[in-house]
Symmetry: C2
Subunit: 343 residues, 2 copies
DNA sequence: ATGAAAGCGCTAACAG
DNA sequence: CTGTTAGCGCTTTCAT
């Protein structure tokens, strides 16, 4: 037999092969690649040449198995088609660039069940950390994660009991800013359209506070707690409000896409100068609309980026002192809520 | 000493522990979990109970190392903030759901250098496949991939020499459909605004063909080959065209966001009824604009989904007969290109 | 249907 | 600064 063991051509190149080529031991090859400072320059040079010559690529399965370290970070994304989520995801990915970590991505579609399924399916890969574009909902998921003692990063909302690290926004504050603005601008027949649960509920509560500070309150409330809203829902909602609350002079939509849809519809119906419209999120189109949209600016990219950096710091062994970061909301006042002459 | 070896509380649960608990050998535990049919029902039951009791979770590093199989798929995303890319990514993720594969994501930001870097950084993880939301540009990257013999899926464009599998669209066809439509509608002073390289160049070539079929041609060409375009660029481009090509009666934008920006600007300037505007991509907002936008519909979600399914089929060992799929483009004719009275 | 032995490829721990 | 030994946890292969 000409061959011992496997066919030479299909066998992977291993540290051993590189070591032989360079005339050193396997561990020296390993050190050269992961901790070059521990190796004498000349040796290092020889090893690197041997690596080059053999085309060696380390096998992460073996190295992670032995070292107990994982370069994988599991990211749970609610809905990547949502622009804010996409931006946050990108921010996080950018923060992790060149860190040696790799991002795995799973879509939860806002479902606690899918989230739990994915967490379970990812545990065998021993991720170094779990990142969520939201708050971990199910208690069973939380305890499953806790029992494994992995780093956890939650994002988006501001909650009092994050699992570990959190970078988010205060929806209450955002809502309040908008309430104060509309109240101070003299609007007195104000409608709220949007979610009334989770984050929506907080925006609503803040909005009420803000209006109250100006001595007014919500005159009409249209809850939209079903599917993830689309543009056309905003147009529809505008018509509903006009019909059921004819004296309406301002509408606060808890989601930007609804506000954009309503704004376009209002332009089309010629009522854009009669009804103030405000959104939440500040998408690029807000500023480009025929009547630019007043909205609460949310820095989703920065949120993701800071979450990524904080995680990296934590994973590198440094103590993260501020484990919860609440980024400020900023009101972007544009023409859609300009004071009307008849107020 | 009360302890042998590691502290019992920190040691991972291994197959061995489950085996002891169930009174079987480690390999039976392994088989129960990955190939239950080979195990007698009663034994299986006992093993599963032992798994439950011990909280055992398989270690993928060990199992992949031994078996040589990887559950990782590396996906290279040009820009997740682009709605089409996001949709394609989601389609692909959905296709892979419950397949046992895990998606790793890297941003290439349309950069061949970053793409090459990431491919290199991912090889140690021995991914089962590489997926690109585009065509692999650099020849060195191509050969690096080929030498490792991994499954490759490219997407988006239609090229003659894909690395292996491809799901894409014909940009030439999309451009031609639009050219034919504008030509047949009687527009005779037509401008093209957008990319003139890669995909843009194909759309442009097709557009020219389509116009020629109606006996006309491009009257003004505004190349935009710099940064990824944003809404405001479309507004800017509209003004440029109006100034430099005053007789213009129709503009084809090779990218949807430019068309949307131009449409909104045209509404604002009151010229929306004088200049036809057409886009490429069909974003949700196209239909909701004050003057709904004529555009080429691109089924990005379906593209991603089919790519994912095809990959899965290939990875399961089935022969994929059609390795290249070109999805049809569909013209969505809306009011923005309605025939003008003065034509 | 189940088990014993071996080894995937690497690096921690210790030794020199 | 470099090497030796051992073992991370699993599943392949072969045996029964």
């Amino acid at each position: 037999m000409a061959f011992e063991g496997k066919d030479e051509r299909t066998r992977n190149v291993r540290v051993e092969d590189v070591a032989r080529e360079a005339g050193v031991s396997p561990i020296t090859v390993s050190r050269t690649l992961s901790n070059p400072d521990l190796v004498k320059p000349e040796t290092r040079e020889r090893v690197l040449q041997a690596v080059e010559k053999t085309g060696y690529i380390v096998n992460t399965f073996a190295s992670s198995l032995r070292s107990g370290r994982s370069s994988l970070i599991a990211m749970f994304v609610s809905n990547i088609e949502n622009q804010h989520v996409a931006r946050a995801t990108r921010g996080c990915a950018d923060a992790l660039e060149n860190s040696g970590f790799h991002l795995m991505m799973a879509h939860t579609n806002y479902s606690a069940r899918l989230e739990a399924d994915f967490v379970g399916s990812v545990l065998p890969l021993r991720p170094a950390a779990l990142v969520f574009t939201g708050i971990v909902q199910a208690e069973t998921t939380r305890s499953m994660i806790r029992s494994r003692g992995m780093a956890v990063m939650e994002m988006w909302d501001h909650v009092d009991d994050p699992m570990d690290m959190l970078v988010g926004f205060s929806n209450v504050e955002g809502g309040r800013l908008m309430g104060e603005h509309l109240g101070a601008s003299g609007f007195r027949n104000v409608a709220y359209v949007g979610r009334t649960n989770t984050a929506g509920n907080e925006r609503l509560a803040g909005f009420r506070e803000g209006l109250a500070a100006a001595g007014t309150e919500i005159g009409f409330l249209a809850p939209m707690d079903g599917h993830e809203p689309v543009l056309i829902d905003g147009a529809q909602a505008l018509r509903t409000v006009m019909k059921r609350f004819p004296q309406c002079d301002a509408i606060f939509f808890s989601s930007e896409i609804l506000a954009v849809g309503a704004s376009l519809e209002a332009s089309r119906l010629g009522v854009i100068d009669r009804i103030a419209i405000a959104g939440y999120g500040d998408s690029p189109i807000a500023e480009a609309l025929p009547v630019p949209l007043t909205t609460v600016h949310v820095s989703s990219y920065e949120m993701g980026f800071r979450a990524g950096k904080m995680l990296l710091k934590h994973l590198s062994g440094e103590t993260v002192r501020e484990k919860v970061v609440i980024l400020p909301n900023e009101l972007r006042i544009r023409r859609s809520t300009a004071r009307r002459s008849h107020n």
